[in-house]
């Protein structure tokens, strides 16, 4: 069931490649705007790079969250899926996994390139990659709660940002903090462990909360 949901959402995403690509380009453009805004000094850019990349990743995930359940909700598929005897927890997990694969994984893959653009060393880029790999699934998991709550509402895309962005703050702090610690020569391990802990917590609890929210929204 889990595999079926993931496969189905991946196929759907493949038929609408432009959606996933536009998220990726949004991420790249936002990150590239910062040097234009704050000046090209290499030292300054290096010190703001972790925060800039992470904030851009947070914003980019907002774009794809609105689509997580909305299309299936509009054509009635979501209701049909929810009526199957499969646990809703697994259905949500499958949809979130597919969303991460199509919208977040490309960002993680392009991030090292942006890190090099900001003059980060190879080792720091490695840490950035690890934090993004651990952190972006949490963004998808927590974001799915907001997506389920705002299903079918007016101005739901703005609302998702207001609901979800404050909940993202720990991920931002640990993620950017790890890269920052690496830049100033301290160990990034403690931040990465905390990020891992948050990931495990979100993996256990977030699909459950999303399932509850979906039941409320689809009645």
């Amino acid at each position: 069931m889990l595999r079926w949901i993931v496969w189905r959402d991946l196929m759907l995403a493949w038929r609408r490649r432009a959606d996933a690509l536009s998220t990726l380009f949004f991420f790249v453009i936002v990150v590239s705007l910062f040097p234009l805004g704050i000046g090209p000094e290499a030292e300054l850019l290096r010190s703001v790079a972790p925060g800039v990349v992470w904030v851009a990743a947070l914003l980019a995930s907002m774009l794809s969250l609105g689509r997580l359940f909305a299309n299936d909700y509009q054509d009635g598929t979501l209701e049909q899926i929810m009526m199957t005897p499969q646990p809703l927890y697994l259905i949500v997990l499958g949809k979130v996994a597919a969303q991460w694969l199509t919208s977040e994984l490309p960002l993680v893959c392009i991030a090292p390139l942006l890190g090099v653009q900001f003059g980060l060393s190879n080792k720091t880029v490695g840490v950035l990659l690890i934090t993004l790999l651990l952190g972006t699934p949490v963004l998808s998991l927590i974001g799915s709660i907001g997506a389920a709550l705002t299903l079918g509402l007016r101005s739901s895309s703005v609302l998702i940002s207001i609901l979800v962005l404050p909940l993202y703050i720990p991920i931002l702090i640990f993620g950017a903090g790890a890269v920052e610690a690496e830049i100033i020569g301290m160990t990034a391990a403690s931040h990465i462990y905390l990020l891992g802990a948050v990931f495990v917590l979100a993996l256990i609890f977030a699909p459950w909360a999303t399932a509850a929210a979906l039941k409320i929204s689809v009645e």
Partner: protein, 241 residues
């Protein structure tokens, strides 16, 4: 007397009307006493001069801002789990007062920070987490106000409030590790507090005043919500009691 009777909004409506003066009047009296003690009886601080007096509104506001969020989440959770309309209405009524106190603690903190730290705002752990708390309140309020169906708004708000409550400690500690400048807590439950007696008393009186104020205002707002949602039934109950 069967107390469960008052779990129904229609029965609670007249009771709330009778309770409001019992909280509003003591609150006004305690505000007067607390402000008088705070301004005229409590001595000046030898480091901060008279600027510290803003503590008498700042600290109660910050406490209530945090406490009301938890209370709101509990009411929202009860309303969701037991399908109790009154508890859900209570949660929405509390959210506005809680957001107001959180905002007040931020503003009064800024006015306190200017003379003592020389700056309106610093990205210190406690101030930042209070700001995030305000964002969580705003999220709850805007989610509820953008859903037309009242019962769906109650339940969706409950999910968000409970997720927020689980997140509050995580956010608090992450921000704590991120940066710290705010002075440590001076009132501890187990140890002797490190501030002057009359300062402590003025603050506690102000805290009680803010408490009673919150109860009174929440009840007023609850009555409005009941009127909005169950118009005819509420008028009928008022007329017959």
């Amino acid at each position: 007397m069967n107390l469960y009777k008052y779990a129904s909004p229609i029965n609670f409506y007249p009771l709330a009307g009778k309770l409001i003066p019992w909280f509003a009047i003591p609150s006004a009296l305690l505000f007067a006493v607390g402000l008088f003690m705070g301004f005229f009886i409590a001595p000046s601080d030898f480091q901060q001069g008279d600027a510290y007096r803003i503590i008498f509104i700042h600290v109660p506001a910050a406490w209530l801002g945090m406490f009301l969020y938890v209370l709101m989440a509990i009411y929202a959770g009860v309303g969701w789990a037991f399908n109790a309309r009154l508890a859900s209405m209570m949660a929405s009524s509390i959210s506005i007062t809680g957001a107001m106190f959180t905002f007040l603690s931020l503003v009064s903190g800024a006015f306190w920070g200017k003379p003592t730290w020389g700056t309106w705002w610093v990205w210190d752990a406690r101030m930042t987490s209070t700001l995030i708390l305000l964002f969580l309140y705003i999220g709850f309020i805007s989610l509820q106000s953008s859903i037309d169906d009242a019962r769906r708004a109650d339940r969706a708000g409950a999910v968000l409030a409970l997720v927020g409550v689980i997140n509050v400690p995580i956010i608090y500690f992450s921000v704590q590790w991120w940066n710290t400048l705010h002075q440590g807590a001076t009132i501890r439950i187990l140890q002797k507090p490190t501030i002057h007696g009359s300062m402590l008393w003025s603050m506690l009186i102000m805290l009680a005043a803010c408490w009673l104020y919150s109860v009174a205002v929440v009840l007023v707002r609850l009555r409005c919500t009941i009127l909005e949602r169950e118009q005819n039934a509420a008028r009928f109950a008022e007329a017959t009691v």
